[in-house]
Structures are given as structure tokens and as C-alpha cells.
């Protein structure tokens, strides 16, 4: 009775450009999205780098009428959602709109709007706040705006659980397609940079170079890593039942065959002691997909350059896949994309492309690995990859892993 879940469309707004093609090409060429922060001044902080969205005009994707009501996060999300639908070759019609929906993960929501609203409230009082801002203060604004712009009326929900929000949304989306609660779901993640939010990250010492140790930079899995570089972007996948996708002759990038979620005790805003929670999530994903560790060819890691999370993921990968024999190739794209906390959407798109095209993009910023993993560095690597694991790991001890499989051409 369960339906197979196909990825049929990809929408991207990212530091490596907009759209699947520009994004995929830049990743494979080993281009970095990280540069000195340009949108606002970071002079007061020890962190000056960021992976900012580039080559994006919301007007190209969103009607002016609706764009006027959107904050930047909503515009980015709506644009990526439209790209994903277009890429899938799907038009929203009265016949399909009630079974089409969106499940979005956002870690922080429209922080800029909330801060503007709070500033007026605190400094001028409740009589002066602007009611126009109110809808965009709420986390579910981006998915709501996208539904109004694009016209879909099915499931619409927003996951708001730190840096596993996007992976959780993808897992939820796949579950709903599988059980038949929807026929088309746009799922992924979106977060954007803003001044107060960036300042908060620096004040929580969440970014490279942490408290000043070493030079600033994103170095996933590297011995010299000293924190992630802040990023922004949005990746949305279009999910459909495989059978329906085949019937309408759609391109299928890959299939989502399983997901696993776990938790582990961790201090507030901190990281757990060891890899057990991550291992549980990854093994649950493998089990759900009916897949053994030996069958996994590639791993798209959550590693960002963070001290504890990279170590626990590396230790976990060793425990799951062993230290010798056939081990999967690992790549950590936050070296190029920075840490936007919902890069799971973009990384899922990259994994789907890797499975379709048989090529894995390199990890940037890695010279001396913290553990002897088979990390792809320098150049992209070709191969016939059948199965890939996507990891999401969050502070506070939350883990979501997904298993993607390549899809054989229908004979």
C-alpha cells in the first residue's frame, strides 16, 4: 500500500547562485559561497565572513503584488518553491491544488521582522507597532506566502527545530507522500541572514573563529576547525509518488527510501557528549530503507566546522561504517555553503543530483581530517552511486538522517 517517494523537482536560492543548474555546477567545480559579509557591517565582530545568497532577484519568481507583503525569507522560499514546481514540470490547477502542499523547515524564521517589531514595541510602545509586520513575525509565514503565490491548498506546515528543521521537513514530506496524505509536496528548508541574528550567533560564540583561535573559515571535519561560517539559502524539493511521476514522464532525480530521527540529552544551546544519538538516527534511516551500511555509497554530512558536532558525526560514521573495507565517500557541503541551519534542503538537492549524475562534489576547507574518513576533497569524484545518506545534526541533541536511492530507468 505504501507509495515510493520520488524527487522530481529542485528549487535553489543559495550562495552558489539560484536554480539547480548553477548550484550543481558550482558545487562540482569546488566553488565556495563564502566571502566577506556584504549585506551589513560586521566590523564590531570577530566574524567577518558569510555565505550570502547571490544572483537572486525575487521579482523573477514572485508577483509584485504578493512580493510587497513578504519579508526576505518568504520571498526566497516562495521563489525556490516556484523553481521546484517548474523544474518538476508541474502546474498548480484546480484539479491538483488540494493534494499539493508544502512542508518547510526554518530554524530562525524572519528574525529581521521580529526584531523590527520588537524595537518599536520596546522603544515607542504598543500603540506604535506596525500591524503590517505581524504576519511575517510568525514562523509559518514563508510557507503561507508560498501557498498564496503558487495556489496550492493541501498540507501546509512548518517545522521549527533548529538545524534539523529542513531534514525533519523532508522526512515528514516523504512520510505523507508514502502514506497517501498528499500527491505533491514541496519540502525543504530556508533561513536568511540579518544583523541582529548574526550578532547573536557571534555573541553565542557559535561561529568561526569562536573565541579567536586561528583564522576565520569553514573547515568541516578538519583538525583546525574553529566553528562554522554563517550562511543563508533555501533548498526545496518537489516530492511525488514514484508511480505518478513515471506516469507523467517526469524526470526523477532520486527516491527517498527512509528516514530516521533521534534525540539525545544535551545541555541547552550545547552539544551532547558522544555520537549515540546520531548513530541511532542514521541506523533508523537505514532500517527504514531496508538497507545495510555496506550498501551506502555516499554520505552528505552535517559537518560544518563546529568543534563538537563534527567530531561526533565523524565518530558516528566510523562506528556505523567501520574503519576498513568498503566505506562510503563522505562530503561536507557546509564548507562551501556555510551554516544556514537549514542547509538540509540544499544538501538534499545536491545529494539527489549526485545520485542522478554519478558525481560527488568536494568538501572545501578540509586539509587534515579529525578521523580517517573517506572524505572527497580537491575535486569531485565520479562513480555509480546507488544510495546516499543525508545527515542533520542540531545543538540541543536532535538528529535526522535520510536515505536517498538512485532510480533505475524504467525498463
Amino acid at each position: 500500500m505504501d507509495r515510493r517517494v520520488a524527487i522530481t523537482g529542485i528549487g535553489i536560492v543559495s550562495p552558489l547562485g539560484s536554480g539547480r543548474e548553477a548550484f550543481g555546477k558550482a558545487l562540482l567545480a569546488g566553488q565556495s559561497g563564502i566571502a566577506p559579509l556584504a549585506a551589513f557591517s560586521a566590523e564590531a565582530f570577530p566574524c567577518r565572513l558569510a555565505a550570502e545568497i547571490r544572483d537572486f532577484q525575487a521579482r523573477d519568481f514572485v508577483s509584485i503584488k504578493n512580493l510587497r507583503r513578504m519579508d526576505r525569507l518568504s520571498a526566497v522560499t516562495t521563489a525556490a518553491a516556484r523553481m521546484a514546481l517548474d523544474d518538476a514540470g508541474l502546474a498548480i490547477t484546480p484539479a491538483n491544488r488540494d493534494r499539493t502542499g508544502m512542508i518547510l523547515g526554518t530554524a530562525w524564521g524572519g528574525t529581521d521582522v521580529t526584531v523590527s517589531f520588537a524595537r518599536v514595541l520596546v522603544t515607542e510602545g504598543p500603540g506604535s507597532v506596525n500591524p503590517i509586520l505581524v504576519p511575517n513575525v510568525v514562523m509559518n509565514a514563508p510557507a503561507g506566502h508560498a501557498s498564496i503565490e503558487l495556489g496550492f491548498r493541501g498540507i501546509n506546515t512548518t517545522v521549527n527545530h533548529y538545524s534539523v528543521s529542513a531534514e525533519s521537513a523532508l522526512a515528514y514530506g516523504a512520510r505523507e507522500i508514502r502514506r497517501g496524505a498528499a500527491d505533491v509536496l514541496l519540502a525543504g528548508g530556508a533561513d536568511v541572514l540579518a544583523p541582529f541574528y548574526f550578532e547573536s550567533l557571534t555573541r553565542f560564540k557559535a561561529l568561526s573563529p569562536l573565541q579567536g583561535g586561528g583564522s576565520e573559515g569553514a573547515r568541516p571535519f578538519d583538525l583546525r576547525r574553529n566553528g562554522p561560517v554563517a550562511g543563508e539559502g533555501c533548498g526545496i524539493l518537489c516530492l511525488e509518488p514514484l508511480e505518478a511521476a513515471r506516469e507523467r514522464g517526469a524526470t526523477v532525480y532520486a527516491e527517498i527510501t527512509g528516514s530516521g530521527m533521534a534525540s539525545s540529552p544535551a545541555p541547552m544551546t550545547g552539544w551532547p557528549d558522544g555520537p549515540r544519538g546520531f548513530i541511532l538516527a542514521a541506523r533508523r534511516a537505514l532500517k527504514a530503507a531496508g538497507c545495510t551500511p555496506e550498501e551506502v555509497d555516499i554520505v552528505f554530512a552535517a559537518a560544518s566546522g563546529g568543534l563538537q558536532p563534527d567530531l561526533l558525526e565523524a565518530e558516528g560514521l566510523e562506528r556505523i561504517f567501520g574503519t576498513d573495507g568498503k566505506r562510503p565517500l563522505v562530503t561536507a557541503l557546509k564548507g562551501a555553503l556555510g551554516e544556514n541551519f537549514t542547509s538540509g534542503g540544499m544538501r538534499a538537492a545536491a545529494l539527489a543530483l549526485a545520485l542522478r549524475d554519478g558525481v560527488v562534489p568536494p568538501t572545501l576547507g578540509l586539509e587534515e581530517p579529525v578521523r580517517p574518513l573517506s572524505v572527497v576533497v580537491g575535486q569531485s569524484v565520479r562513480g555509480a552511486f546507488r544510495r546516499g545518506l543525508l545527515n542533520g545534526i542540531s545543538h540541543g541533541g536532535t538528529y535526522v538522517s535520510l536515505l536517498f536511492s538512485s532510480v533505475e530507468e524504467e525498463s
Binding site: R97, A118, T123, V134, R153, N156, T158, V159, S200, S263
Partner: protein, 410 residues
Amino acid sequence: MERVVVTGLGTLNATAKSAPGFAQALREGRCGIGPFSVFDPSTFRTQIAAEVKDFNPRDHIPRPYPIKRMSRADLLGFAATLEALQDAGLAPFPPELAEETGVVIGGGGGGLLEGERFYGEYLRTEGRLARFSALSAVYCASSADRIAALLGLWGPKTTFMTACSSGATAIGYARDLIRGGTAPVVIAGGTEPLCRITYAAFNALQAVDLEPCKPFAGNRAGLSLGEAAGILVLESLRHARARGARIYAEVLGYGVTCDSHHMTAPDPEASGAVRSMREALRDAGVSAERVDYVNAHGTATPANDAMESRAIRHVFGDRAGRIPVSSTKSMTGHTLGASGALEAVASVLAIRHRFIPPTIHCTVPDPECDLDYVTEGAREADLSVILSNSFAFGGNNTSLVIGRFDGGKG
């Protein structure tokens, strides 16, 4: 597919600080809306809210649980969780259940109450003296994290934030996790604090009544904001039976839709609301004829209550006027992210204690609201299937179907 049952309840809200107390309050039609002290509302247009009065966390969360830096939302949520686990016979929490037990929470303001205090300090000192650690729990994911961390859980954990439908979606999603065999036990619900940002936002939209809200009444003039936590222990029937747990009710299904109409105003055509109710019934495998009570979204805004009444007419046809419909928000206030979960708690209590909670303050009729709103006070009734609605900003709608557990096979 596993059947999913409710085995424990916990709540703190403006009418009561326990589930049994809440049952009593609902039966009496007690209003929790009035003057409040969580912040000073004197500069706002309205001055009332539904507050959890005299909330002392340590009355509910014993030592040695550390509660430092937890937000009011976190504390309300964890307090309700401990009550629900005790009620379910899962206290102290059995270590053998720790690996697979999940936590799914619907959030709202999260730590905004603490966050806005911090932000005032930040602006006053131009960032110099503000302690950013005050923002540790500012996002609503903190509540689920605290529950899982303090209980030592390793199961799936997630947080939904879809404004006023978060809590209902959390329960529906948790039900799916159990139904599909992902987790045998899930702590599910919602938590929401009163805070100035939310209070200012709803006031700016002129969506708040100066008096306690009057759902479905002709003189209704907006909602009353409230705070609450509502937590349910959900469990597979098989698991509940194996450990000899008391079963309160069954979560039969849920539906999620969106209006695709407007960010804050409901669709006057009521299409999203109609479809979420129908989808929930379809998912539950229950025909509309079997529904014997609708726990309405019933915010008491002019637009919502007319729209929802129309939607109920649409779904139930000729029978609509004979189905009791009530808004427990007339007593608890609108608790936003928690409301769907709080109303699920109310629905389970209604099944268990065999009564229909009333809509209070509804004395002036409205031709646009022409259903049976249970305005005369609680009504004795043997309920078998309840439909509970939650409709949110962003056009996000969630309906839950909760039923009396009829025995039968697991």
C-alpha cells in the same frame, strides 16, 4: 498499522493547573480570562488575558530537575509533561522506554517573554550589557529539547510552529509516528506563554476583545489571548495494553490543509476549513454521521466564527444544527501554539467524563452563527467521536478526530 491511544494528560492553563482541575473547570464553565500579571498591560488597548495564575515552577517540577534558563513556555510544557507521565503510570520514567520514546511539540512564542526583556536591555545599553544567554530558550524548539533532555529520551523529537494550529499538528504527527511503528510512545502537545510581542501583535491587528471573548455571539468583538501547556501521552494500543495502562481515548486521524487565501484573514468561502475537517474524517475512516461533538476553533473574531459555522454546515449538512459545537476558548482564552493540544486535552476529558464543555459568554445570537453552541452550560453526553478544529495565520488548518476507545483489536 498500530492504533494510537491516549494514556496520560497534563495541562496548566488559566482555568486550572491540572487535568482533573481542567475537567472540573470545563464542566463548571469557569472563565480564566481577566486581569493578569505576567507583564504590565497598562499601555495596551486591552488589559485582560487568560494567565496561568501564581505559576511557581517548583510546585510542579521537583528538584533535582534543573530549570535554570528555561523559558516560561519550557516550564509550563515540562510541568504538564510530568503530570501527563504520572497520569499515564510512567513516573518515574521507565529506563527501558527511554530509547524509543519521542517528543513532538507545537510551539508559538517560545521564549519571547524572556527574549523581549533581554531586547529592552540590549537597546538601553546599546548591546553592551545584555547577556545573550537570556536568548538560549528564545525559540520554541527549546521546550521539546528540555522535555527530552530532562527525561533522558532518545526517540524522535520535533517542533511545529504554525501559529494557532501548532499543537493540533503536533498531535496528528505524533499519532503518525506511532501508527507507522516509528515510536511506541510519544509525548505530544503544545505550550505557549503570554508575552508582550504576541499581545501587541494581536492588538495591532485589532483582533482582541476588551472584554472576555464571546465566541459565536452576535456581539463578539475578537479573541482573548491566553497561555497554557497541554500534553498528551500517546501510545500504541499494543504497548498500552502490554503494560496494562488505562486508556482514555483514541486518536483516530487528522487533516492539514491551507487556505491559500490571505495571511491573517480566514477564507470566507471556508474551503480550507471544510477540507481539513473532511481530510481528518477520511484519515480517521469515520463518516461525518458519527461525529457527536465539534470542539471548535471558535476564537470569537467576527470572521472566524462565521466562517467556521459555515464550514461546519458544509461538512455536516442537515445534521449540522443538531451537533453540539463549543469553543473552550471562551474559558481558556486563545492559547495559540498550545490551543490545539489544550483542546485535544479538553476533548479527551469530555469523552472520559461524559460531558460537553459549554461556550460561555455567548448570550447574544448571531444569524451567521446558527448552530448549537452549548451556551446553557455543560451538557451530559456519552461522546464517541469528537472533531477538534485549529485554524491559523498563514491559512494553516488542522483538524483532529478523537474517539472513545471502543475496545477491539490492537
